[in-house]
Amino acid sequence: MSVVDVTVAGTPLIELDGVSRSFKVPGGVITAVDSVSLAISAGEALCIVGESGCGKTTTGRMLAGILRPTGGRLIYEGKDVWAKKGTDLSAFRRAVQLVHQDPYASLNPTRTIFQTLSAPIYRHKKAKGSRDAMNRVRHLLQVVGLTPPDDFLGKYPHQLSGGQRQRVAIARALTVDPRLIVADEAVSMVDVSIRISLLNLLLGLRNEMGVSIVLITHDLAVARYFASEGRIGVMYLGRMVELARSEALVSDPAHPYSAALISAIPEADPNITRSKERVRLKTAEVPSLLALPPGCTFHPRCPLAEEGLCDVLVPALLPLPGPRGPREVACHVAIRERQPAAELLA
């Protein structure tokens, strides 16, 4: 269970230790997340990227304590969260909050912004009396950039724009003083021109309040911006295939899947995007989660796949030494050649 702690030395805040999650579906059992290990430090900004079906949302929900792992352990402050029942679990769930993707569904339409934000404050006795609660709500609205706060207290969600609702959702997460916020595609349904401001808000929470943020997204450009001083984890069909610093991943991806993704992204720059070299995959078909290929699940599509190795043995997430700082990759060929896939494919 290797753990790469790149930002702060010491015990990680929260750790996924070989975590798996399976679901029973009509066709059989699907393993949405397979043995994922990830350590997150206090005050870290991390991104998990991948395409649909890769398990990133399920991983995020397990991090937030909403889903229980069917394998492995979730360790918070050194203790296995699911080992005991009762107050430990609810304290943990409050410590990790989830911000949802859809701003139109994340707030109760029948409650005002003040009601939505004050409920957890009252419940967890974060204020002494109604005046104090009001001030705390006002303060939170200011933290998330909804100023002047009094303009928003009495409003209902349908009176706010998508971006404003996401800010309220973030404020709601902050009411219980979380240590970690999992933002599940939190900017994907918001106007393009304001995504950066929301990402900056989340980064600001990290800088000023020391809250760790895990951003789950399918947009690598957003991931690069958000995790510019942190790490990005790439998932494919339930497994973590690469974990590296943002700039290292983007310029020199170690896993052939990451290399394919990065080369495939359409870019907002005509000269670059029309002349970019694309990594060609052997097939565009994504295997069904009900019938995963043996060995490395990426081998049917991988240009570097070696018969007898990649279709037999599941690659472990192992450290890959190199000039770009600590990184991990789950690829037999890259580990053996001690080179990132990007260079092997060039």
């Binding site: 909403i66 409050r94 909050q97 859809d102 109760n108 959702a169 219980v176």
Partner: protein, 300 residues
């Protein structure tokens, strides 16, 4: 939904209930049939509850004026004992509507509570409740009503309401349960759970308020059902009632053989008309409510 349609910051807003009421009446005025229904309901409620305060009850009639046709003195004619029919209509609405209101209230309450708990608790409790509801739904209601009334013999209107409620909750309970099952998966309910806000809060503050329109519509429909059930029971003579009641008027008409007298037309017809018009008002109103509460059906 863009920022373009937002009210400017600083728009004066009235207290939400008043604002809702005005908005509701405005939307209602755009649907003529709903407005007619609403006016009808207001009319009948006034007739049944307010008018009797001003019109004294007539116990005995003038036996020289049996089955009179309508005249200036007796606007709806007289009955088999010379009593003014209009007077009876005025007096007779209170009981039938009260029973309907109480039944609807009890039915809606039981169905909502059971449906919500069943959906949230799940497991064997849920399975058991659903099975009971299914059994109640498959049995023909009128037969059961008749049997229960024969056994329980409700002597006052409250007891009758209780009897009717015993059967009425099953359908609404299943629907409430389905709604709650959907709502509990909503992001904001998940957030409430994550924030550890507690089951009571989640049921009463997060889930039920999002079903308000649903509950109101079913309340009104339950009233129409209760009225039909009452009329059926009373006309069949299964309920040993005395007092003033439109359905009782029909019962007496039937037992007194009024159906065979042409002159008795108004005595028979008036309560039928009253019942039908009341039901129609309720139904027209409910149709408009469905439109109003469904934002997608609302045209700009």
């Amino acid at each position: 939904m863009t920022a373009a349609a937002l009210p400017r910051a600083g728009d004066r807003t009235l207290p939400r209930p008043v604002e809702s009421a005005i908005e509701f009446l405005r939307l209602l005025s755009k649907r003529p049939s709903g407005l007619i229904g609403f006016i009808g309901i207001v009319f009948f409620l006034s007739l049944a509850f307010i008018a009797p305060l001003f019109v004294p009850n007539q116990e005995s009639g003038d036996i020289t004026q049996l089955y009179e046709t309508p005249s200036l003195q007796h606007l709806l004619g007289t009955d088999n004992a010379g009593r003014d029919v209009l007077n009876q209509i005025v007096q007779g609405g209170k009981e039938i509507i009260s029973v309907a209101l109480i039944t609807a209230f009890l039915t809606t309450l039981v169905a909502t509570v059971l449906g919500s708990i069943s959906a949230l608790v799940g497991g064997r409790f849920d399975a058991a409740l659903v099975a009971i509801a299914d059994i109640l739904l498959t049995v023909p209601p009128l037969i059961v009503l008749i049997v229960i009334s024969a056994l329980a013999r409700p002597t006052n209107f409250l007891a009758l309401a209780l009897v009717l409620s015993l059967l009425g909750w099953a359908g609404l309970m299943r629907q409430v349960r389905a709604q709650v099952l959907t709502l509990k998966e909503r992001d904001y309910v998940e957030a409430a759970r994550s924030l550890d806000l507690g089951l009571i809060h989640i049921v009463f503050r997060e889930i039920l308020p999002n079903m308000r329109s649903y509950i109101v519509i079913h309340f009104v429909l339950a009233m129409t059902g209760a009225i039909y059930a009452q009329v059926a029971l009373i006309i069949l003579g299964l309920v040993p009632f005395s007092g003033k009641n439109w359905a009782l008027m029909l019962y007496f008409a039937q037992t007194q053989g009024a159906f065979y007298f042409n002159d008795a037309f108004w005595f028979v017809f008036s309560p039928i008309l009253a019942i039908i018009l009341l039901q129609l008002s309720l139904v027209l109103f409910v149709n408009a409510l469905e439109d109003i509460f469904n934002p997608r059906l609302r045209s700009s």
